[in-house]
Symmetry: C2
Amino acid sequence: MKLDFKYIDGGICAAQGYKASGTYCGIKRPANDTPDTKHKNDICLFTSDVPATTAAVYTQNKVKGAPLIVTKEHLEKTGGKAVAVIANSKNANTCNSDGVEKAQKMCDLVASELGIPCEQVIVASTGVIGQVLPIEPIEAAVPVLVKGLCYNKNLEAATAIMTTDTVKKEFAVEFKIGDATCKIGGMAKGSGMIHPNMATTLNFITTDCAISRDMLQAALSEIVQITYNCLSVDGDTSTNDMVVLMANGLALNDEITCEGEEYEIFKSALCEVMANLTKMLAKDGEGATKLIVCTCWGAKDVETATEVAKSVVCSNLLKCAIFGEDANWGRILCAVGYADADFDINKVDVRILSEFGEIEVCKNGAGVDFSEEKAAEILKSDEISIHVYLNEGERCATAWGCDLTYDYVKINGDYRT
Amino acid sequence: MKLDFKYIDGGICAAQGYKASGTYCGIKRPANDTPDTKHKNDICLFTSDVPATTAAVYTQNKVKGAPLIVTKEHLEKTGGKAVAVIANSKNANTCNSDGVEKAQKMCDLVASELGIPCEQVIVASTGVIGQVLPIEPIEAAVPVLVKGLCYNKNLEAATAIMTTDTVKKEFAVEFKIGDATCKIGGMAKGSGMIHPNMATTLNFITTDCAISRDMLQAALSEIVQITYNCLSVDGDTSTNDMVVLMANGLALNDEITCEGEEYEIFKSALCEVMANLTKMLAKDGEGATKLIVCTCWGAKDVETATEVAKSVVCSNLLKCAIFGEDANWGRILCAVGYADADFDINKVDVRILSEFGEIEVCKNGAGVDFSEEKAAEILKSDEISIHVYLNEGERCATAWGCDLTYDYVKINGDYRT
């Protein structure tokens, strides 16, 4: 199967028929109550011109943000059709006794302004947990958002969902299904409390590809396992993790309703978008200076490879060593050793790579001589790859993480203030 | 059952018939090869006057330090009898192709100098993983250690096993079994790579109580689950974790050979020593400024309570918030929510406590109003307790951890240099 993608701009507005807008409404009003002049957008809206088949995955944390509860209910009621998504940052609307009521109200405001049933609106929130969400600024913002909707304002939306993120995260690809040109684009937010289990915090993906609800959900559930669920910034699984994938069919391809070549093309394109967003999330981890990508090769199954790769990128000790540009490979092997998987540690080889070169540091579970100078050179890069070879089979998996730095501690020592 | 302990000095020399000594031998020779004048002890030896019944638990990491392999083999050969323990810091003797040979050599040196079978010697190492252990300095040190053996040199030994530890860790209690006065004392090391699974790195406990091997091992295995295995500094399970418990019977109590009141007294005393060493390890976590103790109450079983309490003390985000003295209780509930256990999150209450006061921050899974000023006051303490109430049963468990600070990152950014 030939995979032929073109990387394109446009994020969630890349595919046909999606409009977006974003604005600042002051959800977290400055203490002195004067207008925040250096504000960034804190709320966004995006819509599909026609009702879109919609799939979603949610956090597995027992604590679930109120917006997730409302979104899930809406998608159940409509059989997976949605028109609009409203999302805010600065407040997660989680662990509040009036959370569901407020999340519902956000949908009602949008539905009323757009003249659609409120069940066709999806809601998401991110920010501080356990603070009551003020609804007044949102009431004022919704008409502004609706008036502002535009086919190219994806960036306004992508910045509105940022919390401690330092860069906006968007990615889009173009590909062919038969003769039809299809597009998939997405945006993501997240920097801390990132160790997704089924999803990661606030990812929105839109496509104009025509695909049935079942196949859309199957594709999302499969790809999320090998992308977002292989990502960790700090080991903390968020309460508000959500991925929403909308498909409005405007590319006019023959609808994908079963497995086969077209479904595989769609999944590959989806994986390209989700893997790139995952990498962006890891690289912009709170306080991070370096992306860490660990690939585990030669595993007897994907589960083993995934466990090992995730164990490595989750090790605080290794994360500090990478920050310090110290080739302390014993910490890699230590993390491989405590991974919850079954394999022979005495067959394990380890290599460290970057654009500056490649070295083997461990062979058959024991250290090998290597040049510390060369290792230091390799570790100067801001993208470090670690390859772990189990030498027991044919399967592999990749996990994404980042280094642990002074700034992570600083950012999280006083997040609420 | 009345438990009547007296806290006493003496660490591993507190019980009758145990001698210790420690010295500096230069395992990690300074680069310029001049004598290190500001050195601390890096090797120690301790012995029982008579062969002691000995129980041990080891790391569950697949990567196992060579000393663990040799120790395990020796205890199997002797049926759990040991006379001497030799332990070094600065080099873990792990992931080296000649590791087992070197660990065996350390035992041989001690056995030959003491005139005992080498199987009665236990060996332990801690420090950098994957660097070849130099045997010459150890050959020179063993005669010095043997000559130096003394009934009150526990401190020389306790300092010799320190790595990034900032304080030595010793604890001892005295108690009665029938008319006999028994003692249990121990020493521990560890500051980073601490997330024990079955044991924690280098813990040695001695007692003069007479107890059979089976009962000794059963007591150790039970107490380790509720003490060391509920400790986490950084989520990294070390390759060299080991707890060794020696019982030489010199207190002349009637030997404990079955369950019953005397066994319960012994276990309580052992728990007192191990829980206090666990607390010392947590408080001296790498870079730590605050001890975090989480107790989960009202669980339907101990496993649930343990999962929840450990999940809280392992959260990097919470650890940063405690460092920043920020009452960000949403992070506590988030960590409770992703604990791998089954309970109703909507029944959970949370309280934060210290010597400066106590506040409720969460009731029935949702936030409650509390005074930020009072919270700030409570969080000024260097020992913070978090109580999580599941309100589903009668069982509880405690876990110990510490805050995550700039110094943790600093210490681990360049550990090897």
